[in-house]
Symmetry: C2
Subunit: 150 residues, 2 copies
């Protein structure tokens, strides 16, 4: 966790992005590091956890990190938490909370409130459109014999 905090400090001080750092550990060894680099790379998805997950997967040549633990200097936002689920990481340690992040101006807590709402209740306008035509791809996937699940 102290390495994650150091990454947060380094990223903030060097102007990469917000004060967030993350490491991913496997069998007692750090396999990837990330800090926030949203503003320096023009990538709103480049949070510390997403960055560390992408780098760990590249290093291990896998899209599943089911034998890893993630240490992050702040409770993951819903984007990063969902990425943790998609990567099958079973264990997370976090320092600051979403409330601490809200107190210094970040939207993590607001997005946590938006996610459970019905699509038509959110501040982002969401409209269903052409579901019948979209379903055709899903039917083809269901029948596909050589698909790789994730």
């Amino acid at each position: 966790m102290r390495e994650a905090i150091k990454l947060a400090d380094d990223g903030m001080r060097s102007g990469r992005g917000g004060p967030f750092g993350c490491v991913i550990v496997r069998k007692g060894e750090i396999i990837s590091r990330g800090n926030n680099r949203v503003t320096s790379t023009n990538d709103p998805t480049a949070h510390a956890e997403v960055t560390a997950i992408r780098e760990a997967c590249t290093a291990l040549k896998t899209f599943q990190l089911d034998d890893c633990a993630l240490y992050t200097s702040c409770e993951p936002c819903p984007m990063c938490l969902s990425a943790i689920y998609w990567a099958r990481i079973p264990q997370v340690f976090y320092g600051n909370t979403r409330g601490d992040a809200a107190a210094i101006g970040f939207d993590d807590d607001f997005i946590y409130q938006q996610i459970p709402l019905a699509p038509d209740q959110r501040t982002v306008a969401m409209k269903p459109f052409l579901r019948d035509e979209s379903l055709v791809s899903f039917q083809e996937w269901a029948k596909k014999s050589d698909k790789m699940r994730y």
Copy 2:
């Protein structure tokens, strides 16, 4: 939306990943395209929407897409929906629903159920750790005069 569906089909048939496609539109023009490439690039965050958001931001040299609309062949999962919030995209059109995705084996709906739970109630084990030390970075950010917000 038909372009997003076509991207879903192309990605699935060429073995890039699951049957999901997305386009981002600005002033009536498509500025980026994405399809799912999780399994082909070993990147669990490479969903169609995240891919399209990253490419749109690169193309426009910004981390905010507040004058864009996003068309996706399936209701965004919580990772992609959060990325939409972080990118400030105000409008989303979607084809298939999270229920349609669950019916062909995807975890979108499961993750939607996990996000609103308290951290200690989730299937991912989440533990607070060293909050006091982590807070120091946040205090430094709060005082930082030259920070770039996002």
